[in-house]
């Protein structure tokens, strides 16, 4: 039962064509998803959509799912979320940081609808937040990158300078520095989540400036493709992008929302749903790694696997001290670590990251 709605945004005109097709009323409950990108981005949104499909599969004819893709963050998303709520959806997942305030606003007007907002920090009676500790994956990637680089320069294609992205950059920097003290991280911000051309151009610029490993926090496989054609390494984002870059992809950080979506949708249906905040990592299965590239030497694979195991069982904390901020001042002393509150609001670089953080 594939229901496709397209809410497309236009740069110049705020005209959006949203077709809302309502199903025939029956025993099935409606579950809504709001995506920031197209389901075919093969990254972030694609993984959320797999989660939606998992819900359909697990709950069968008890639910009917709807999604709206390519919804622009900000005011336009409020319209889309409200439309879903008004249309009788029982639970609505809004899957991008920028949907935070619109989600809360609509949630106030529809107290009987449950809302789940990904990667945000504001909650309400009927609004939960959920996110994954992607930085755990990035920490493992940082170890591999630190070992694999020949130029000691890691290029990082950033989307927007928000804590989520900065945390990832810092996790990579800390891990890479721990195995390679001479490492430099060069960051290029493209100020978009999704623009294959621009993401690819940013990767090219980084490679031209000496980077031989390309990491990204944007949603298309374009940077990997550039890495493949230029003969450098890269790491897939959000899903396994190996077939775009069979030689270049070292591994990929995979988001897995399937279990969470099934569990929360069930809770909404049987009335046990409560507002909560979940931040799962390796342990919960929300963050996974794609198979390692066979070109990675055995000792590096071993290091990566040990790191992953240690993070999973809690014996290794990626943001444990001592380490310094970019300006050399102490961020955390030996023996302590950053708590989740600091991590969620992270707005500074650690030592080893080049360039100034845009504010």
């Amino acid at each position: 039962m594939k229901l496709k709605m397209i809410a497309s945004m236009l740069g110049t005109a705020a005209v959006a064509g949203t077709m809302l097709v309502s199903g025939v009323a029956s025993a099935e409950e409606k579950v809504g998803f709001v995506y920031v990108g197209p389901v075919g981005d093969h990254g972030w949104t694609y993984r959320h959509d797999l989660g939606r499909q998992a819900v359909e599969k697990a709950l069968g004819d008890k639910v009917k799912t709807t999604f709206v893709e390519s919804v622009k963050e900000g005011p336009d998303s409020e319209r889309v979320i409200r439309q879903l709520a008004a249309d009788g959806h029982k639970i609505i997942y809004t899957t991008s940081f920028g949907f935070m305030n619109p989600t809360l606003k609509v949630a106030k007007q529809f107290p009987n609808v449950k809302f789940e907002h990904a990667t945000g920090y504001k909650r309400g009676e009927n609004v939960s937040t959920y996110s994954a500790r992607f930085y755990e994956g990035r920490y493992v990637v940082g170890k591999i990158a630190g070992k694999m680089t020949k130029t000691n320069i890691i290029g990082y294609v950033g989307s927007f300078p928000i804590p989520e992205v900065i945390r990832g950059i810092n996790a990579v920097a800390l891990a890479a520095k721990s195995v390679n003290p001479n490492i430099q991280i060069k960051v290029t911000w493209v100020n978009t989540w999704y623009d294959p051309g621009k993401e690819g151009d940013a990767a090219k610029a980084l490679i031209d400036q000496g980077a031989d490993i390309i990491l990204q926090h944007t949603d298309s496989p374009a940077p990997l493709q550039v890495a493949e054609s230029r003969g450098v390494w890269a790491v897939g984002q959000a899903s396994d992008m190996g077939h775009f870059a069979p030689k270049a992809q070292l591994t990929a950080i995979i988001d897995n929302w399937d279990g969470y979506y099934v569990e929360r949708t069930k809770a909404a249906l049987d009335g046990t749903w409560k507002s909560q905040d979940i931040w799962g990592g390796f342990k919960s299965g929300m963050v996974q790694l794609a198979p390692y590239n066979s070109a990675i030497p055995a000792d590096v694979v071993k290091l990566a696997e040990e790191t992953r195991a240690a993070i999973t069982d809690g014996s290794l904390k990626p943001f444990a001290g001592p380490f310094n901020k970019q300006d050399g001042s102490e961020a955390v002393a030996a023996g302590s670590e950053l708590d989740d509150g600091v991590l969620l609001g992270m707005d500074w670089y650690v030592e080893g990251v080049q360039g100034k953080l845009p504010k």
Partner: protein, 309 residues
């Protein structure tokens, strides 16, 4: 070696960033010169992108892929023509609808091709020439579409200003009633111009999915159609300036990425804004000189032609 080495990759990247804009821009220029404003460039580009990608994946024939992209773009433009030229619908609204339609349609037909990489279109390699230092890779090492984009600018310029047919097309754009009264088929000429614009947009899209980022992803034009539209005003409807504008736009985009990677202490948001800012500044500057706009802007742009009147 000679200090210019670092510059080559920058220029190569600028060329790939500018080429889709050149195609879409030069096509829309012809459309607008005939007096039709088609805001559906983005939609025609994205349909061209998906058509080219599917054809290349299924047949492996890149020439065919580009031809199919051009035909699909022209077909989209034909739909626009039916609505605006024959049925006299509002051009602005129809153009916007065409963009929405194109984005949705391309997503639908491209569904099974998401995540399938394709070989990038082959670059030219003329023995010794392409290996020359500095100018070799820039002048003789591009893919065929880049050369085609320059050729098209030249041909359009020649056609519009050196041929009788071009004069007629401009006459239709400047005063459709006058052109009609001396016996030219305004609607027919406009159909041709609109479909040429669509074909060029389609090829611009093909460049995205076959050369720029050789893959198919929904919405991969990411607003380039709108930039192409702005370029035409920027160029005051002169083909050569469309080329200059596209390369300036591409150049600033790429340079700001390099500036960031080099750790230049400028906020990245401002750098990202630069290309758009430059466009606005130029628009303001040229708008002050009214004669410039008046001399080149088609007087009948966007106006519906009623043959009976």
């Amino acid at each position: 070696m000679n200090g210019f080495e670092w510059f080559i990759p920058v220029i190569l990247t600028v060329i790939t960033a500018a080429t889709p804009l050149v195609f879409a821009g030069i096509g829309e220029l012809v459309t607008e010169k005939s007096g039709v404003l088609n805001l559906g460039i983005e939609g025609m580009m994205i349909v061209g992108a998906v058509a080219a990608f599917i054809t290349a994946t299924l047949t492996g024939n890149y020439l065919l892929a580009v031809v199919v992209a051009a035909l699909s773009g022209a077909f989209m433009a034909f739909l626009f023509g039916i609505l605006t030229l024959s049925l006299m619908a509002n051009q602005v609204a129809t153009g916007l609808a065409l963009t929405l339609f194109g984005i949705g349609l391309s997503a639908l037909i491209g569904q099974d091709f998401v995540g399938e990489p394709v070989q990038a279109i082959a670059k030219l390699n003329i023995g010794g020439l392409s290996d020359l230092p500095v100018i070799g890779p820039i002048l003789f090492g591009q893919d065929p579409l880049v050369y085609l984009s320059f050729l098209m600018v030249f041909l359009v310029s020649w056609f519009l200003f050196k041929t009788k047919a071009g004069l007629i097309l401009r006459a239709v754009g400047d005063s459709h009633d006058a052109a009609h009264s001396i016996g030219y088929s305004v609607i027919g000429i406009r159909y041709a111009a609109v479909m040429f614009g669509g074909a060029m947009s389609g090829i611009g899209g093909a460049y995205l999915s076959l050369a720029y980022t050789p893959m198919w992803a929904e919405n991969m034009t990411a607003g380039r159609g709108w930039i192409a539209l702005a370029l035409i005003v920027f160029a005051t409807w002169k083909p050569g300036l469309v080329l200059v504008g596209a390369y300036m736009f591409g150049g600033i985009t790429i340079l700001q990425l390099h500036a960031q990677a080099a750790g230049l202490d400028i906020p990245s948001q401002i750098l990202s804004m630069l290309p758009y800012l430059a466009t606005i500044v130029v628009l303001v500057v040229i708008s002050k000189d009214e004669s410039r706009i008046r001399k080149h802007a088609p007087a009948c742009i966007g106006k519906i032609f009623h043959p009976a009147a």
